[in-house]
């Protein structure tokens, strides 16, 4: 019969107190695991490898909102850019690829974001060295769509499924008349693409209500190209035909996909890839945009790193510290429980010593008891934490868009069990010393 078995017998003898103390440790560990799983998902979703583009170009405003809306689809667009600016970016020698995004609407079922883009989006890598895998046919019709894996799973959609979309976010209540058809489904990517419905950009413009009055467009172009008169003149020239049609009362700006000049079109953001061997080109482009047009470029990696290192990183540290304190307090509970039991167990210790147990044996039995409670409780909490993560992950995905991997192990979890062993030694040491110092003759006569 080894020391662990003897310790286990002692724990079983005090079932209630032992269970409660182990449970308190378990709860602390469970909370820590949940914090780590959730922040692990946040970290994984936002770390630099999840962005396959060097710059995000959008209207002037918050760079964080731009990145969150264009890459992570967690925010509405800031404003819009003229489509003509996309053509300008595509011609820029510093740009390898410029992909337009137009968004703002959501599906009626599940409120998944609708993104209008071009086939270039699917040809580019969505992460470094990772390309989309698509099951289905290419987009041919204006209202053909490619949906992300989570959209397909949650809405039960597949090729041939038809659906409608809500204008300007789930709360607007205005459902567009157009019926959209799923022609392809993306394989899971672990990114926001899994929760996105992709539409041909032309289809996006063809949706009734997506066009703006020519006067408003004209004003926007004047604001945007205020520092570039040459481009402004060219843009305004494209509007003359539309203005003439409006004056004649024949232009329907709710449905003007076929004859819409590029100057009438807008996009929400442009995803830019630059030459990876010349990172300074991206910096130069960012700098130009700061001073020129009513646009800006955000480096998604730096923007997200700033968010992670600042707000989210600190929240994570605070929550981990809080759960560590809970575990420590639970450890104190184990100490109190074992220490209080020592006076009752004095005779037991005396008996074992009389049977030949050495001081180090009884010291080891008490430490083993402390370790069993700490590690047993910790293991229970670890499994429960991951179990809750498994059960809750669909709900978290639905509520936040964060893709949870319930079994993803955080480096802190690897540290957790050695720390629990250390805690067991710490809280068990004093009771173990009490056992070590027990006077056998006195204990037997007590």
């Amino acid at each position: 019969m080894n020391l662990l078995t003897i310790a286990w017998k002692s724990i079983r003898q005090r079932r209630l107190a032992s269970s409660l103390t182990a449970l308190s440790i378990g709860l602390g560990v469970m909370l820590m695991v949940l914090v780590l799983v959730i922040f692990g998902a946040v970290d994984s979703a936002f770390n630099q490898t999840s962005v396959g583009y060097d710059l995000i170009v959008g209207p002037k405003g918050s760079d964080l909102q731009l990145v969150l809306s264009a890459v992570y689809r967690m925010q509405p667009p800031i404003e819009n850019l003229p489509y003509l600016f996309l053509e300008q970016m595509q011609k820029d020698p510093r740009v390898v690829s410029a992909v337009p995004l137009a968004f703002g609407d959501v599906t009626k079922e599940g409120s998944f974001p609708i993104v209008g883009t071009t086939t270039q989006y699917f040809e580019n890598e969505y992460m470094p060295r990772r390309k989309f895998r698509i099951r289905g046919s290419r987009i041919n019709g204006l209202f053909d769509t490619i949906i992300g894996s989570e959209v397909a799973r949650e809405n039960g959609w597949d090729q041939g499924s038809q659906f409608t979309i809500v204008h300007g976010g789930a709360d607007s209540g205005h459902v567009h008349d157009e019926k959209f058809t799923v022609v392809a489904v993306l394989a899971p990517t672990g990114t926001a693409n899994d929760r996105t419905v992709f539409l041909n950009l032309d289809g996006f413009y063809a949706i009734a209500g997506h066009g703006k009055p020519v006067n408003e467009i004209e004003k926007r172009l004047k604001d945007f190209y205020a520092a570039d008169p040459e481009r402004l003149v060219a843009a305004l020239k494209q509007l003359e035909g539309v203005k003439a049609e409006e004056a004649a009362g024949s232009h329907d700006h709710h449905n003007h996909a076929h004859a819409t000049p590029d100057a009438m079109k807008e996009i929400s953001a442009i995803l830019i890839k630059t030459d990876p061997d010349k990172p300074y080109l991206g910096v130069s482009l960012m700098s130009d945009l700061q001073t020129g047009y009513q646009a800006m470029a955000a480096n998604p990696v730096r923007t997200i790193q700033r968010l992670m290192n600042g707000l989210i990183g600190n929240i994570q540290k605070a929550l981990v510290a809080l759960t560590a304190i809970i575990i420590l307090v639970s450890g104190v509970g184990i100490f109190v429980s074992i220490y209080n039991s020592m006076s009752d167990r004095r005779r037991e210790i005396g008996i074992m010593r009389a049977l030949g147990a050495q001081r180090m044996h009884v010291f080891g039995i008490i430490l083993a008891e402390s370790a069993l409670l700490c590690i047993g409780g910790g293991l229970l909490g670890w499994l429960t934490g991951h179990g809750i993560a498994i059960v809750a992950s669909p709900w978290i995905v639905n509520q936040t868009g964060l893709l949870i991997n319930p079994w993803a192990l955080n480096v802190w979890e690897a540290v957790l069990f050695p720390v629990l062993v250390g805690l067991a030694v710490l809280v068990g040491f004093l009771p173990a010393m009490t056992a070590y110092r027990t006077n056998v003759a006195d204990a037997l006569s007590s």
Partner: protein
């Protein structure tokens, strides 16, 4: 010679600093396999003597030789190990651990001897004391007599050379007293174990071939005389 006590002195210090002499034994010896009943009044030092022989306490002076080795001269760790391996103890209050079954209590007796745990032998011992059918019962599920029989089995778990029994029948009902007594004596005889049994009972002592009264060979005043010189 299985047990030899030589020039044993033991006194306790009171909180005020005064020393209370307890034992002053010039010589006491027992042969291998011998069975001795030790009579003595309450507070006369019987339990202290058993604790010194088993190495639970150390004497202030003197030699305690068990199976040829001086227990009093050993380091504590060696003494603990020696006690586990060579000395069996039966307590007046049985001292079984309540969290352990009868079998586990016997196995616990084997756990600290360094000889390893022999489950088959532990079962044989319990069968020998008539508890083969109660191996997995806890002490709380047993009668007082049965608990003491488990304690006897545990004391023999490591095949000791010396068995110390401290009034083993004092808390047992009359119907079981003779049974326990016969069990201890017969088992010791069968295994050639030396038995020193402390008792209050003249009836119990009367069944022993050799009966010693502690007051006949214990002169606590020797402690004070030596201190004075």
């Amino acid at each position: 010679m299985s047990l030899l006590l030589e020039s044993i002195r033991k006194s306790y210090r009171e909180p005020g600093g005064r020393r209370i002499p307890v034992l002053g034994i010039e010589r006491f010896e027992m042969k291998q396999g011998e069975q001795v009943a030790l009579l003595g009044s309450s507070g006369g030092g019987k339990t202290t003597l058993l604790n010194i022989i088993s190495g639970i306490l150390t004497p202030d002076a003197g030699r305690v030789v068990v199976d040829g080795r001086d227990v009093a001269a050993m380091q504590e760790v060696v003494r603990d190990h020696f006690r586990a391996a060579r000395i069996g103890i039966v307590f007046q209050t049985f001292n079984l651990l309540p969290a352990f079954t009868a079998l586990e209590n016997v196995l616990l007796g084997m756990s600290f001897s360094g000889k390893g745990v022999d489950k088959t032998f532990a079962k044989q011992l319990l069968e020998r004391v008539g508890l083969g059918h109660r191996l997995n019962h806890s002490p709380q599920q047993m009668s007082v007599g049965e608990q003491q029989r488990v304690a006897v089995a545990r004391s023999l778990a490591n095949k000791p050379v010396l068995l110390l029994a401290d009034e083993p029948t004092a808390n047992v009902d009359p119907a079981n007293q003779q049974l326990i007594l016969d069990l201890i004596r017969d088992t010791c005889r069968d295994h050639n174990v030396t038995l020193l049994m402390v008792t209050h009972s003249l009836e119990v002592a009367g069944s022993f071939k050799r009966v010693e009264k502690l007051q006949d060979f214990n002169r606590p005043e020797l402690c004070l005389q030596e201190q004075a010189t």
